[in-house]
Symmetry: D2
Subunit: 465 residues, 4 copies
């Protein structure tokens, strides 16, 4: 390597540097054994219930885990003519769906069958065959603070207002469930609501400051941070599916490093933003300029209701707006991308329920500056798109933890609207580069060659010689 990596010695931002020799690779990676506990804040929400119901339906062989890279994805190894393309789940040793057990917290005390009915994502004809299973899962009372999520109003919450007490109560919930279910390893994944917009402040900068703030019941400590603290202090990897700060602050990365735990986030990349990170790289590939990108969303689920509060929307908006900037690189392409106008709106529209619809109106320009337009109407389903991401993230985080990849998991950027990344590095938002990064990381772990898609060698004679 010709250049010294200036980031490699910095420990305070990406967690303690990984030590390559301590990473388990190839045959050192053991097959997972025993139960994998999945802890979900917001377990009664649309995403969680869709995820859990789906996993159970797949386990019973009555549905397919469409959308899941770990379950359906393949990975090409070696040269095109070798035709070595195993399934990802056969290539890397991931936990088996049969070994997953679920627990979580919610503001509403409905069991998961009731909650899934309320969410109106999965039809009754698919829920009823697994009613027994879903009814058996009941949320634990949540830690909630209405100042952070104004449009919700649940009452199934832990008593008191002392933050440290709440952290401890969550840790006890975890220990109890592990013990009762003989759980071997755990992952916690936030599927709760979007909290109001926060910028990192003093209490978020270092672990010491954070712990002090918790003790002082500082109003800048969001509920999601208490869940993360409980996880990391319990040695459990934490994934953040919302745009909340949560673990994307110095203090938490420090804690992850200290405890050798993996963290990943933030904000599941679904719907319109997913579409954006598909289309924008396409426009850039072809050097087509962008004059404006107007995005509107309509959705009628609880998520829509929460985002109808402007401060929660602000958190989401920041997450949604940044992707274009990073993908298009205006600093490299000022002629094409310096002055585009980007607007994102979200509208609560009850008729649509969970069937979110995103409409994008994209004004581009080509050769000699001539304008063209692209309109995309994406009639998607929020939770149907998110559920397989939850599954993949749980399995990959468990893998990361087992092989010793701790701290920020940048290789999982593929799944997030606002990928966490080491300070000093820019985040990667291009879906295709993200996928390449993910797959080349798997190849590295298993000792396979990196794929570059350079193909000239197929046309060369001498290399054989």
């Amino acid at each position: 390597m010709r250049h010294r990596n200036p980031l490699a010695s910095r420990n305070n931002d990406g967690g303690p540097a990984l030590k390559e020799r301590e990473l388990k690779r190839k045959d050192q990676i053991e097959k997972p054994k025993g139960k994998l506990g999945v802890f979900i804040p917001g377990i009664g929400g649309a995403v969680s219930t869709t995820f859990i119901a789906g996993v159970e339906a797949v386990r019973r062989g009555i549905a397919e885990p469409i959308g899941s890279l770990t379950q359906l994805g393949t990975i090409r190894l070696g040269k095109r003519f070798e035709h070595r393309v195993p399934k990802i789940k056969e290539f890397v040793p991931l936990a088996d769906l049969q070994d997953m057990v679920f627990a979580g917290w919610d503001l509403y005390d409905a069991n998961l069958y009731e909650a899934a009915l309320y969410a109106r994502v999965i039809n009754r004809e698919h829920l009823d065959p697994i009613k027994d299973f879903l009814s058996g899962i009941k949320p634990m009372p949540a830690v909630f603070d209405r100042r952070f999520v104004r449009n919700l109003d649940g009452t199934y919450v832990k008593p008191g207002a002392d933050l440290r007490d709440h952290v401890e109560a969550l840790k006890e919930d975890i220990s109890r469930f592990k013990a009762e279910n003989a759980v071997d390893r755990c992952v916690m994944i936030w599927c709760g609501s979007t909290e109001i917009f926060q910028r990192p402040e003093e209490p978020h900068r270092s672990l010491e400051a954070l712990q002090k703030a918790v003790d002082a019941n500082d109003s800048r400590i969001a509920p999601s941070m208490l869940y993360a603290l409980a996880a990391l202090e319990s040695g459990i990897p934490f994934v953040n599916g919302a745009p909340n700060l949560t673990v994307d602050i110095g203090a938490m990365v420090e804690l992850a490093g200290q405890n050798q735990v993996a963290v990943a986030g933030k904000d599941f990349k679904t719907g319109q933003t997913l579409m954006k990170t598909i289309l924008a790289p396409g426009l850039k590939a072809r050097m087509l300029g962008l004059e404006g990108w107007y995005s509107t969303n309509i959705l009628g689920n609880r998520d829509g209701l929460v985002l109808d509060d402007k401060d929660s929307f602000k958190t989401k908006e920041e997450s949604k707006l940044s992707v274009l900037e990073y993908i298009l690189q205006p600093q490299l392409y000022p002629t094409l991308y310096k002055n585009y106008y980007h607007k994102v709106t979200i509208n609560y529209y009850p008729p649509r329920g969970d069937n979110k619809e995103g409409w994008d109106c994209i004004d581009i320009f080509g050769w000699l500056g001539y304008p063209m337009q692209i309109k995309v109407d994406f009639q998607c389903r929020d939770s149907i798109l998110a559920a397989p991401l939850v599954l993949d993230l749980v399995l990959f985080m468990d893998l990361a933890q087992r092989v010793g990849m701790t701290g920020i998991q940048e290789w999982l950027s593929f799944y997030f609207k606002s990928p966490m990344h080491k300070e000093g590095l820019y985040p990667e938002h291009d879906l295709f580069i993200q996928l390449m990064k993910l797959k080349n990381t798997l190849r590295y772990l298993m000792g396979e060659e990196q794929i570059t898609h350079f193909g000239l060698d197929y046309y060369m004679n001498d290399r054989e010689a």
Copy 2:
């Protein structure tokens, strides 16, 4: 390399194998000197006039070559923190726009100013400042055979019906122009119409058979093949912008090999198919299933008129339909892609002129099989999208020829709906892989490391040690 490349020794399909030691690399590649002649069959059409007018406008500093990777593109070298991102045209030694001179053939004898007005792509306010230049370019009479393009009816054609005579007449046209304009190097690029559908037959299999068929005035020899023969026999690289067979037959690849000339094709990837090769990789990345993809196009230019003939459309249709199959790999993902219904229609719709519009209605399914829909309305401009491809291809083909990369240029797949490829290899249709292939080829030529987007090393300490 563990596997012997079974393709490497086969000479009859990818042309004679490249010899790595004979390729010029890094400092061996000289800056181009002198004039670059660009020969265009169909020079009076919308794409050609938009290309040539645009190049001249850019040369005069009154417009930007938006859409051109060679002119605006950058290439990342080394690690993310090195911030080495030169412009492509400063990284590899490409011909300068100032050195390009244009010649070509057409069925109509209008000069290029008149032809550009007729095409109604570029507004008068942009054409008038370069009227002097455009008026000065007059087509040479075309070789034409109405059996191959039924809906056109030009009369500005070479006399007689003897194919060999036609090839010789084209070669003379080339020689004359080269001599009169002191041209140093040349590229020929087909911007003519879509010919009726042909499958490769006996006369197309070997060079010997082809030459015999030409001598026999065989009706299976399309006019585009005569142009290609004239180019390759004159040692001039040939690019095929239409879906016609032309050089995508054994006979031509053999000739390219014999004469050490580069060939590339086929069918410029613009509009709806471009969009398809952006979206389909995105769906596959996320393991979203496909139930159906309905694509309709409306356009009112001469291209639309030609494609109103069902046999010309058939040629185009084959080219358009295949992209999904290769990108989605149903053999690897039967659950997702085995049974989708793919339909493409093109409708001649005069109100739209060159402003092609493509509407895609995409039926996908996700988690547990739940259906979702994507609709894309692409209000594009056919020639505005194609012109920068012509520019890039001319410059890259000239580069390929200078560095000694002869035969099929698979690394230029990025530009084509139906990329030519070595027999035994599957073509690559994913726009993002195609771009990676192109850039890694450039990196290879200039002696830079391949980019893999593996990023774990940024998080590792030991590698420095």
Copy 3:
């Protein structure tokens, strides 16, 4: 009346002229008594099963007859300040849903429950509660001739090939059903397939010629005509829901006149054409010019399959294309509508099933000729839109017959893509004028003032005086 109506004395085209004094009006119109038999050729198709299942569901109070003017519509009487707005079904004496009984013919022998499942229009959860009722209805074997509908291939057909025998067999079917079910009055409504395109020829011009042709087994006599003959000869009103000629020929109008029977047609106005007759009057109201209208349809039901045959499509195409011409009146508005380009395509696209989707791309121009565009994506359901039309037509035709309005029912134009009309009159395609015509006809029958929407009188004092 200042002008003598030149049409009034012509009897051979609109049927024998109505005699005003013989029409029953106001109190002369009796409440219908007894059962109303509904005979449906194509009873096993998607439209028929959706209609019949819906009527039964409404009768049982488990669904609403949305889309039905007779069931939900109101009619304003008198002045705006009078607030007299009865429901239509309370204003005119229509048959009650409870009194309808259903019979019909089909190519497939499935009972109506099976047929409804196959059609995949109504969900199982709505079909199962009325399974008993639907299973009890079995089609009678159809009269079928594959030369007229090439893409279908049913075997549940009447034996033999003698046309007169077929007519007689149909009439016997009718008599038997009437007797067995104590039916008081009947209506026949064609819900079968689109036959191949026919222009009226000699055998269609007069009743005598038609009867001769039937006797001669003339190949120009379509199966739908045999059904119509059976109906009219049995004194039963006939409605044509397809674009087939059927009763829209001189011979049938003559027969309708002779037998004093009402006829109406043709081609139910649903989906894209419905949308067109809503939008086009809007554009014309505002004097916006039209440059082009491109319409594409995708559908995957049996109707889609039939229309995949180009000769059946031709019949449909004629029906679909004509509406714009009549609404826009290019002869009156040459500046606006003389040169527009109108294109309609239908594509068989199985993923969509009965959920037809129509996409319209409309190029309009305004003030000084500046262009604008409208795109409409109508994700409709073919049979859901058609079923209430069947209900309304059955009830209104029964009314017409009872009050003595025989021959062509132009006042029902509202329901048809190609309204039948008296020779010498142009058909009315504007949905809003059609509705006005329908309602003013009802007002006339019940002795109420015609509504003109002239409102100046509200602002005038003297009129009271």
Copy 4:
């Protein structure tokens, strides 16, 4: 008339009742003579400049007044077979375009050529031929109060803050222009901005209260009211093209009555709302239910900027939301229209300029409640749609004034989003009923029969007898 019109004697809401015997009709209506002065507040805006430039272009024969009912419209008289369909402008005696002269006020002092360039609606190639004419029109300084339009900031305003002084200054402007240009008759039409939302309050209820409030410089008197006062006190008809209250208050109607002047308003019906009043009557005609209607608009002109202020948007929103309610009549059709969700947003999006785009997502339901969707993307041009309305309104208001139709002109509802109407009557929003009302009013004035579209008489013999 069986019912006594309870509205006829009320004078305080629709102005003093029209006296039928005093109305001029048929031959009493004289051809207009002399110049017609058109006074426009906001004369430098996009709508005004598009209107004036267009009128001049039409006068010079270089463009067509597309979109104008008065110029291109026809009117059917008598029976269908009479074929009497004169042009409206040949049927009623309207002012000639050649006789129109223009004056107005604006916040910016640019002449109309400069203002039209700034508006970027009409291309330079159409503006340059009439540059002489447009440059010659200079705005007079405006009466402006930034509290009512926060996002604008012009400085070309009348000095001082005394409201009465402003009214007098405007009246002097009017007198001066009339004298200098030998103007015979005048119309004032508001093409200025949308003011912040106001509900009618005490000072708006009676003329006396209004005049007192003006004298007291009451902050509830909007600038637009001062213009209206100046017009009505000068005996000049006033049209309100914005959703501002202006003349839609008791005080102004009283003044209009006292001075025998015509008033009309409010808010030009263009773009998305126009589309809504076309589609909604269509849905209602077919008794299709509505679950939700989501409308978003993007536009980048000055209007968009003004509406980016939430209080101005509130005024517009009220105007836009009400149309559905009145058209769909939920009180008559509770099953269909009681619970729909209606949302309208407007987004300032500079890339689009005046080329407003409206996207509608309409959730409907049909037979048995099955859901369907309609999406409409209207890529319109705001000022191109509004300009012909300005022309028609000026001409029809002049006609109304000449024939003695004073007070509220409900028959012009066709042109407005929020038609002014007599208290106690509901406004008519259905575009097709509005057009019928307008045309039947013209027929009435010219002594022609009302058209009812009742067509049964064509099929009757006896009526002739």
